[in-house]
Symmetry: C2
């Protein structure tokens, strides 16, 4: 089983794919897409959409996890972020993955054991959780792996779950 975690932004877009092995979950692939800040928004949206579809087609995750949006931003930045989020949700839907949304608090709780953890704490914990000693994991990449990790935690606890428990969370 594979899970793709996404951390959307209008300039940096973090992604991380986790794969389940006998011994636990391991990082299969992760990185950051850098969208050109001088490109018009529609160009950046097309770039993000195409890249995420390609990542899904390459790694074939059954699940895609994304953080619920932090809505304390200004309406202007919420609108811009919403546009990027929209094309990512679209890519996940068109590739027939199962979409899951998690509150930022749940993601931090799963990664650090503390819902109020800092970005730096998430960044420090993710390589340890995945037994992955690669240093220099960027914040956006760590956040994407953290939301995938949170999803992995929820999926693995009840091995058999009633249909629809998580599906449709992304309303």
């Amino acid at each position: 089983m594979r899970i793709l975690g996404l951390d959307p932004g209008s300039r940096l877009l973090g992604y991380g794919v986790l794969e389940r092995e006998r011994s636990g979950w391991r990082r299969l692939s992760s990185g950051v897409l850098r969208l050109k800040p001088n490109d018009p928004i529609p160009h950046r949206l097309a770039e993000a959409f195409t890249a995420v579809r390609e990542i899904i087609q390459l790694h074939r995750p059954e699940h895609v996890a994304i953080e619920e949006c932090f809505v304390a931003h200004s309406p202007r930045s919420a609108l811009v972020l919403g546009q990027v989020r929209g094309v990512l949700l679209l890519a996940a839907r068109l590739e027939e993955t199962e979409l899951h949304e998690f509150a930022p608090r749940s993601v931090k709780l799963a990664a650090v054991g503390n819902g109020g953890a800092s970005k730096e704490q998430v960044q420090a914990m993710i390589p340890r959780l995945l037994g992955d000693c690669r240093s220099g994991l960027g914040a956006d990449e760590a956040d994407a792996l953290a939301v995938a990790w949170c999803c992995a935690n929820q999926l693995r606890s009840p091995i058999v779950r009633p249909a629809g428990t998580l599906r449709g969370a992304a309303r």
Copy 2:
């Protein structure tokens, strides 16, 4: 020459295609897509994206016009609206149309001659401007035709314009 105007919403999505004829611009097609309110957001986004791509493929407009977002909403509604807007901008970009954004004030000014006009005034003026006596034009359909009309006005004045004047407005 053809222009597609779009009025995005998370439940109702207005569209209108104008075509230039010798005598002026006429309405070629218009309507409202009703997105199912009980469907999860990713399903609605996929429905909106597919429908708008199909409208573009059917009518082959060279230009797509959309209102700049009214950002006085709450961050929550800006995020939801942003998601819909994102997939429409993406559809326009992937179909290689030229995208134009207009301030709500410019759209009302073009349609009614008054930047502070009401929705009802726009709804009443659009059929007259297009010499189209069809009654019962809905607000979302009228808004979509109004933004296309605003774009038509800007395109027709200087027949030859310097490259890039409007292109890239959707930043």
